[in-house]
Symmetry: C2
Subunit: 212 residues, 2 copies
Amino acid sequence: MSDTPSGVVDLLGLLAYAELSAFLRLAEDAARLAPTLTDRAALSEVAANEYRHFRLVRDRLESLGADSEAAMAPFVAALDGWHEQTRPADWHEALVKAYVGTGIADDFYREMARAADPSVGGLVEEVLADQARAEFVVERVRNAVESDPALGGRLALWGRRLVGEALSQAHRVATSRPELATLVSPEDLAGIGRMFAQLTEEHNNRMAELKL
Amino acid sequence: MSDTPSGVVDLLGLLAYAELSAFLRLAEDAARLAPTLTDRAALSEVAANEYRHFRLVRDRLESLGADSEAAMAPFVAALDGWHEQTRPADWHEALVKAYVGTGIADDFYREMARAADPSVGGLVEEVLADQARAEFVVERVRNAVESDPALGGRLALWGRRLVGEALSQAHRVATSRPELATLVSPEDLAGIGRMFAQLTEEHNNRMAELKL
């Protein structure tokens, strides 16, 4: 523990709770909003995958001698806050959130891993390589939007809200956890701004993928 | 498909939806009721395990040429009904439900597998062997009951309600799906009654394990 920088424990704690809360929220959306059992199973698959990632990250935390509960605790408010601000109102919003949300998270961790301790970078890559990122979503959303252009407009706004709330929570985290911010951007705070700009651009690419 | 008895498809459809709905309800309980992040993760582990079983069973259904959605559909009302009648009011009720619920389900499938097609029996055994049946529950419930005897009384009643509602839904299923009932008890309907008596006895053993 003594030779693990506290920024690394923060990074893993953030990643762990992001996966655990994504698991639980996706399961909730699957139960609450899926129009068919097949859809429910498809979104449940995305959820179960998040749980697997959670376990990988938690095990890494514990192998570093960190208390996983303590490591996750500082990020509960930001991540729960994001989920509360972005509770899907219907199945299509749930699909877009699953796709965009797991996408933002992936980019976020990829950016952070670049700057972090090599062993953490390796873990993050392992989690990300395994990401079956809700690809089933793309076809369903495209088809729905094709036959209902008004839905497309609504989902495009929804996508902007998802990323806006995510960046707002990310700023909150960067401010309250200076060790984590330093790990991500050792040179200066402007590096954080550049990272967020990059995340937004990747988000826009995903929205284009969905034809939104 | 043509050489798969319809009772077997029923059995797998019931098992599949039982696992899928257990996954989603356990995730909901973990999100809603867990007092700590460690507890939330522990119940999430049980949930994720149920999802893995769901996938095994669904894949078997599909390899038999059955439509998994159609196979599950007849059992949605009974299983959702059970979950709605047994929504835990607090964390200890959630723990007992996880333990007792997965236990009843295991016994139920074990009994049924005995009578069913050998290939299905094999699958059911595979699912059951893999069951990490919420063993973490035992210690937590015992400790809680030891320091609060009134809680013990309340949870004992809760356990009776869980099994009572399960048997009531099982009767409903046995009545509405005669092929399934025949598969389970080819000789006569009294076999169903004996099976339910056996399930109740095993439930009582589990309650004793919890000191309830």
